[in-house]
Symmetry: D2
Subunit: 344 residues, 4 copies
């Protein structure tokens, strides 16, 4: 941390700042700039609230010159985290596609969709059993019954299961059905919950909050990593901006930014990121081109009758074409996507 004193700061103000820091166990290095005294703080400042320094008398401003996260940082671990679940590697050379319905609605629906996406080359099946909904009057998901259907469909087509958990109470039960636990954007800073995920036995798929800075997102990952669970996958899913034409603004530049700052795999969710079917396809391609380690896409065989998010779900045929396109794009940047399966 660096502290710039005001031009007119008195010696006793400077000393007060130094004492403030000394009292908390920090050394201070004092230097004189053209116009200002500058104090360099030496020690682990991650627990200091920078604003406490900014409001001390005589302080012009204070700057944190280090990141507040540790285990999440690429400084902490240089090589990419690769998460292996069965035969699937996340964060490795292969770009991994997660697909499936927004909500698990009924068995046949999930089976049909699972078959379609498996044939197209998907390795992980998504489907919501517990749905966070803005309105208390909307469909809230099938609950455990939905998890059973999801597991059965995934097993039949050789897929892994990812599903959203809304609450720390559900972690144990969901872990019996799912291979990856998804944390929704609205829960990214539900600290009781993410702290509990540090003890979970399953990898966590951590969506970025719609108003979360990249730093806050990585701090939430730090809650999980520092709790003992090293298997965190980040997922950009759109941030809130003034533009309302799309549901959110998918911030694809977050992908190269996170790849530089952290060793964790980073995905994109173009379905929630745009909210409109015909925007999902171009943004899915763009996410791969931007270097994502994978994407999560909603697919439905009958979107007009979907119980949630039908408007952003791709038809199976659209999805299959998308897979063909992104296979080529992945190769352009030296990666690959699983082949489609033989339809026999």
């Amino acid at each position: 941390m660096v502290i710039m004193m005001e031009k007119e700061a008195t010696e006793s103000q400077i000393e007060h700042v130094i004492e403030f820091l000394d009292e908390r166990g920090f050394s201070v290095h004092r230097s004189t700039g053209v116009e200002h005294i500058v104090l360099g703080v030496i020690g682990d400042v991650s627990k200091l609230d920078i604003r406490d320094l900014k409001v001390l008398p005589g302080v012009a401003d204070a700057y944190r010159i280090s990141v507040p996260y540790k285990m999440t940082s690429r400084q902490f671990q240089h090589e990419n985290t690769v998460i292996k679940i069965g035969e699937v590697e996340i964060g490795g050379d292969e770009v991994v596609v997660i697909a499936g319905p927004c909500s698990v609605e009924y068995k046949e629906q999930t089976m049909i969709i699972a078959e379609h996406v498996a044939r197209a080359g998907v390795k992980i099946l998504r489907g919501g059993a517990f749905k966070p909904r803005t309105s208390p009057y909307s469909f809230q998901g099938l609950g455990e019954e939905g998890l059973k259907i999801l597991r059965e469909a995934a097993d039949k087509y050789g897929l892994l299961v990812i599903t959203e958990v809304m609450d720390k109470d559900q972690i144990g039960m969901v872990s019996e059905y799912a291979d990856i636990i998804q944390v929704g954007a609205r829960n990214m800073q539900n600290f009781s919950f993410i702290r509990a995920l540090g003890k979970a036995k399953k990898p966590v798929f951590l969506k970025r909050g719609i108003a979360a800075t990249i730093e806050e997102w990585l701090m939430s990952a730090e809650y999980i990593l520092s709790g003992g669970n090293k298997n965190v996958i980040l997922c950009e899913r759109g941030i809130r901006t003034f533009e309302t034409y799309t549901r959110n603004t998918l911030d694809l530049s977050a992908i190269p930014v996170v790849k530089k700052l952290s060793h964790l795999p980073v995905f994109a969710d173009p379905s929630h990121g745009t909210g409109i079917r015909n925007k999902v396809i171009p943004m899915a391609r763009a996410a791969i081109a931007a270097g994502a380690d994978g994407i999560m896409v909603e697919v439905h065989h009958d979107p007009e009758h979907a119980l949630s998010d039908g408007a952003q779900s791709l038809y199976p045929q659209q999805f299959a074409e998308l897979m063909d396109q992104i296979r080529v794009i992945a190769e352009v940047i030296g990666r690959k996507i699983a082949d489609k399966r033989d339809s026999n």
Copy 2:
């Protein structure tokens, strides 16, 4: 809901839209504008996802012409909700000030601050026992021990207690100590939690999420009201914008907006809304001038040693002056604030 068809929409596309709505129990009124066929949807559209209409073939756009919340709306209840707790009325003629430390740290700290704010005319003591922190390495609160201290201090000085609950598991326990349950901004859309608050026995103080539209905020209140708990107090505490000089941008215009849309009381929290002590005072005055039913302010007798948010905590003397100023401002708009107590 109103649906505008594309200029070139075919008759069969129009019929498909009508069938889509008919299948879901809606009547449709068809009219012909200068350039477009317009369909008016009749029925309770609160469960319809408007995007499902927007993506139907031939549809140019769709517009929801009603609000998605019901019980929260001033259309539902014309007169202001007034919440009575003991002798305190929230949402009535009196403007109510909540004050106290950010965190309960130790008994003497809470006692000193409680005495100061009680003398200045405060009716409700705040203090955090469970702290949501961006960093897993920051002080997380004293837990139940903090609640005991808070209750004791409040009782000694004749105050009510408000404190933050982070999780649905804590509702029962906290309800034994607190008079009002506070929901933090990051939990405004933690739906499991706010659903559970619909069954709580205590009033709920619902902070606006930093990226929540006013509509989403009122929808979260709807979760609580529709669950059976009519006592919800809204609190504006700053939204996230591009401006980083202040911690958040306190959206005071939300106060008159909410007063028009809803019958619920609305407060402002200038401490979190600005994050900087010398900005808290002007914004606290401004909140009262804008018509808030109350404010929540952080006060600390020794902010330099506060364990959280010292930088935004007022000194007791500053707070007492603020109280004197806002008493006059409240009167200007036909309201009042409790007198200071005799210091004997």
Copy 3:
């Protein structure tokens, strides 16, 4: 400026950074933190693009620890700038109210409104003759004819004139009619224009751009001050956020922030800041409570027939009541507002 090297930065990378700075005339002070080498840059860094440092090999991050503006800063001039125009002082003890129609429409309209606002205690008449409109099909203003009407109305009622200039070509002509030149939010970074205003003979009323940070706003003021025109009045008029209920989000916290950073007077425009009549009044009061040096308010005797912004224009009677309220609020914080005039 402070530069933090990566933990693994090589000696030759560090030397390259030092050479880069040396070549541009800066001294460098090297120190060693717990984990990182830190370089302090000594000299006037206002012309350095900080990103040029950030992308040098081995650099983890770089921080500007000084503000990029000079003459605008309170470090440059401690005491408040007070602008005297005739008998009006802007930025002094008195809070100054500017009022009038959005657009000058026809002579009688302007006369009626001028009389109303003058009686209520206003000192400066506003009115647009050149209107920046989002749509090319909207009313664009009366041009010079409007300026003549405005001047005549102001002279009749002993008022000063403020009006918007859209273009550097208009500065000379408008200066013949107006006492203060207003720069609209969309032109805050029209650099040819604001550079030319540095040579103007009239004070400049510089509205904040809807997406401008406070720093960028002060940098635009710097263009004018550094060009030789010391008389700049800043005006907060709402920033763009995700909230769409109000036209913009009036950022009242910018008022105390600017008062600390700069010596220039700062106003607020609650009419554009909210865009809705019944929100203008509470936000006008709030602006005064927050410490604004003045406000600019739109008033119209017949808003339903106004050619622009009728929806946000106050009726004369509403405006008179507002003036009575803010007189009391100004006093609370040790300031005053001119009395209403005798209506004889």
Copy 4:
């Protein structure tokens, strides 16, 4: 336009709304919903300010159910606008790459860069001669001397020229040197200027303002089209959001959105959109994958000594590799990019 009356609206309030509209030449269609009277407005409502309706007594809300732009809309012109300049077609099958230095600095610099980009397959050379700079103390461009250099370099390597114009006074002079006139983000709503561009003889490259909604951007295009200049190219270059890690947030979803709403070509500028060199490449690829008609990229042979935006300029070798990658991506979506030239 559709107007929803309040549940309790009186008959005289409804009649007042109808008269208000009748007076302005609109027909009104009245219908009765479940809870509300709804009024449909028939006629060209593009000149109506919707807020004027919203504030009428008894009105609950009003909704514009048409877009305010006309000539810019795909409803107005179904087929894509293809702009032909010499042998280059913009908006056709070919994806067009614009590249060159941020600023023209000196002749040799521009020559070297022009040669590099021409060889890589570029058709249009960019370079700033008039630079809009946040700080009055930064390099402001070479002016007309820069234009001469740019033209000479372009002619030598068979390229077209695009350059930024900051002011309507410069349009004539710049038009003598440039093939395409660029309007910067900060000038998108400089209405005097864009109105004048409606009379310009050259195509206009209109960057999106950093706080402009897509609708406002298309309205600014409407100024130019309605003035008589049909050749407008839109360019997304990043919007301002709360995320500060990147200079702006490149909103790539705007590309498919604009392609649906308008017939005009749409480009992306990943250099300004991210502001950081190693983010430019992934975002350039992503823009092509998202369906852009072209990209504008800054290239410099010696970025460390660039006078502006060196941090976001690609090295020629990086740029050549990028061109190879995007050629493949363009093909995936059925388009093509010009081959690299023989280096003889």
